[in-house]
């Protein structure tokens, strides 16, 4: 559990690490999806190629786009690209770095799918079974069928239970042939991808290391700055809401006191925290009015400065009164 927690915290530490985690999960999900998917070759002449190549190429494209969609950096990249220049210059190298880093991570899941598909062999068998060389693998002395008929028979190779061309070409032979080609293609693809990754990783530092370090730093900076800004806004919203609600309750109780034509009840100095916390609301009617007012007439998004006590809760949007009239107000109350 401790190890898991450490891994979790490490992956969370910044957006890149988090994306590495997502990338790994998606690669595993890709392999799992392939094994869960019920491959079902239609075994009809024109449909086989479309289905086989479709399953080989469409899910990787979906996984690639999903890799981009799940990456929060994509909106960061678009924002950074489209923002007005303002007082901060824009560095295209940083944008390029962000894009490359996103693209590399997004490519992992599609590559896994294509490799697994090729190594398994069902897709290639389905797509190219009509192109099997019958002359070399099959029975050359079999009475020749028309082109269309032959295609129909060959199209059923992947479907062992409905295959009826055993005399033309043995089902096992054809499937083994196609699977061998598929696996060879699969291993070549894996080798190619690994070599590409190797070259990118080991040749890049030989050429542009200084520029790379700069781009990486500023790309992380932009990410962290955006997160901090969001956190600061959230904290500000929380404090704003607390003060707004407090002023709402204060205003409410003052208004009701004014409406009942007696001075607002001031809690005596030794009344204790509890009385203060009651916010001046001490009976059912007042509370109901407060709740109704909260819905019907929400307070404006405008906090009164704390130094000037609000004498009238309804003066939300006006400027705070100048000191002169306030002293008069106080004199009136103390006279009563």
């Amino acid at each position: 559990m401790d190890k898991f927690r450490m891994i979790f915290q490490f992956l969370q530490s910044n957006q890149e690490s988090f994306m590495n985690g997502i990338c790994g999960i998606m690669a595993l999900a890709s392999a799992q999806m392939y094994s869960a998917f019920d491959f079902n070759c239609p075994c009809l002449p024109r449909y086989n190629l479309a289905y086989g190549l479709g399953i080989l190429l469409v899910p990787p494209f979906i996984l690639l786009l999903l890799g981009f969609v799940l990456n929060n950096n994509i909106s960061m990249l678009a924002e950074e690209w489209r923002r007005p220049r303002g007082q901060r210059g824009k560095d295209p190298a940083v944008l390029r770095y962000m894009f490359c880093s996103m693209a590399q991570r997004a490519m992992v899941a599609p590559v896994v799918w294509v490799s697994v598909t090729l190594l398994d062999g069902k897709c290639i068998t389905c797509a190219f079974c009509t192109s099997v060389p019958v002359e070399t693998l099959g029975n050359a002395s079999h009475p020749s069928l028309s082109q269309g008929e032959m295609k129909k028979v060959l199209a059923r190779i992947p479907c062992k239970d409905i295959y009826d061309g055993q005399e033309l070409i043995a089902n096992e032979v054809a499937i083994r042939y196609l699977r061998c080609i598929s696996q060879a293609l699969g291993w070549c693809f894996v080798l190619l991808m690994t070599m590409l990754a190797f070259l990118v990783r080991f040749l890049r530092p030989c050429f542009t290391q200084a520029a790379f370090l700069k781009s990486r730093y500023w790309s992380h900076y932009i990410d962290i700055e955006r997160k901090l800004f969001d956190e600061t806004c959230a904290e500000h919203a929380r404090s704003f809401a607390k003060v707004c609600i407090q002023q709402f309750f204060e205003g409410m109780s003052t208004d009701l006191a004014a409406a009942r034509c007696h001075p607002p009840r001031k809690a005596p100095a030794d009344a204790g925290e509890a009385t203060e916390k009651l916010l001046g609301i001490i009976d059912q009617g007042t509370m109901n009015t407060a709740l109704k007012s909260w819905h019907r007439c929400k307070p404006p998004l405008h906090l009164h400065p704390p130094a000037l006590p609000s004498d009238n809760g309804w003066a939300g949007d006006e400027q705070p009164h100048p000191p002169m009239p306030r002293r008069e107000m106080a004199a009136y109350y103390s006279g009563v």
Partner: protein, 307 residues
């Protein structure tokens, strides 16, 4: 357990994370529901299509409504939309933002159900087995139309005596499943392309408005939460005072009726404080009866004035 607690804490860290968590859980629940559901095609000409399409579309509607119900933000948005203007203006951009965010999250589970259904193929095979062209398939080509319909309707049922080893049944089944899977993958592709374009293009249009809408929608959510917490705290104190007042008035009544000598000694007074003057079975019974038959009014102004 520790692992779950950590994941739980991560998702609780802000309300957007909570909603993403719920959305993910509903999607997983949707997949699990589909795998547990025992699909059973009726294999009758008039019923197949209704059953197949029903299973494909009715649970997603349920999941969509569940997604709306479980999302706290939908009530917040509704309240913000319906409240009178009062002293605070209403910003339609904020309401639109909240609405679109709620809809997006609620749509995930239904879409997952539909895609899983299409990729599995059983629903479409059941719904459209009667609609295939019998000429394409050897076993069904030379039979009367009524018989063809009956046979085609039985295609989804592998265990039926007529269909058990019928190769044409397998051919029709494969054909329909191929179309179903192609449709499923196409829908998934379209949705992902749409999501990608939205994510990529949104910062290019009205980014400033979006930031404002997001901030104020978050603010409204936080404000509602803090208001509820404040009300909760207030009601706890109110209840405390109300009950204290009730005990106090009981004590005074008992003193009035009992004519007992005043107790002496500070220690006795301290204990008396906690017991609040209720010291025998009759008094307790009377207090309990009073609490049930005559609850005190919701007004603690007297208690406050005493302080």
């Amino acid at each position: 357990m520790d692992r779950f607690r950590m994941i739980f804490q991560y998702f609780q860290s802000n309300s957007e994370s909570v909603m993403n968590g719920i959305c993910g859980l509903l999607a997983l629940a949707s997949v699990k529901m589909y795998t547990c559901f025992d699909f059973s095609c009726p294999c009758l000409p008039q019923y197949n299509m209704a059953y197949g399409l029903g299973i494909m579309f009715v649970p997603p509607v349920t999941l969509f409504l569940c997604g709306l119900i479980l999302n706290r933000q939908s009530l917040v948005m509704l309240e913000e939309w319906r409240r009178p203007q009062g002293r605070r203006e209403k910003d339609l951009a904020v309401i639109r933002y909240m609405c679109s965010s709620i809809m997006q999250r609620a749509m995930v589970a239904p879409v997952v159900w539909i895609i899983v259904t299409l990729l599995d193929g059983k629903c479409l095979i059941c719904a459209f087995s009667c609609s295939v062209d019998p000429e394409k398939f050897v076993g069904f080509a030379n039979t009367s139309p009524v018989q063809v319909q009956q046979l085609l309707a039985k295609v989804p049922c592998k265990d039926d005596e007529l269909m058990r080893n019928n190769t044409s049944r397998k051919a029709v089944s494969r054909y329909l499943r191929c179309w179903s899977q192609a449709l499923g993958w196409s829908i998934l592709l379209i949705l992902i392309v749409a999501a990608f374009l939205t994510r990529w293009l949104r910062p290019c249009f009205n980014q400033a408005t979006l930031l404002q809408a997001r901030h104020w929608s978050n603010y409204i959510d936080i404000e509602q939460k803090i208001f509820e917490e404040t009300c909760c705290e207030h009601s706890r104190l109110f209840a405390h005072k109300c009950i204290l007042h009730f005990f106090e008035s009981m004590r005074r009544e008992i003193k009035l009726h009992s004519f007992s000598l005043p107790r002496e000694g500070e220690r006795a007074e301290k204990e008396d404080d906690l017991l609040r003057g209720i010291t025998d079975q009759d008094q307790v019974n009377k207090l309990l009866k009073m609490w049930y038959f005559e609850k005190p009014p919701l007004d603690i102004s007297q208690e406050i004035q005493r302080l």
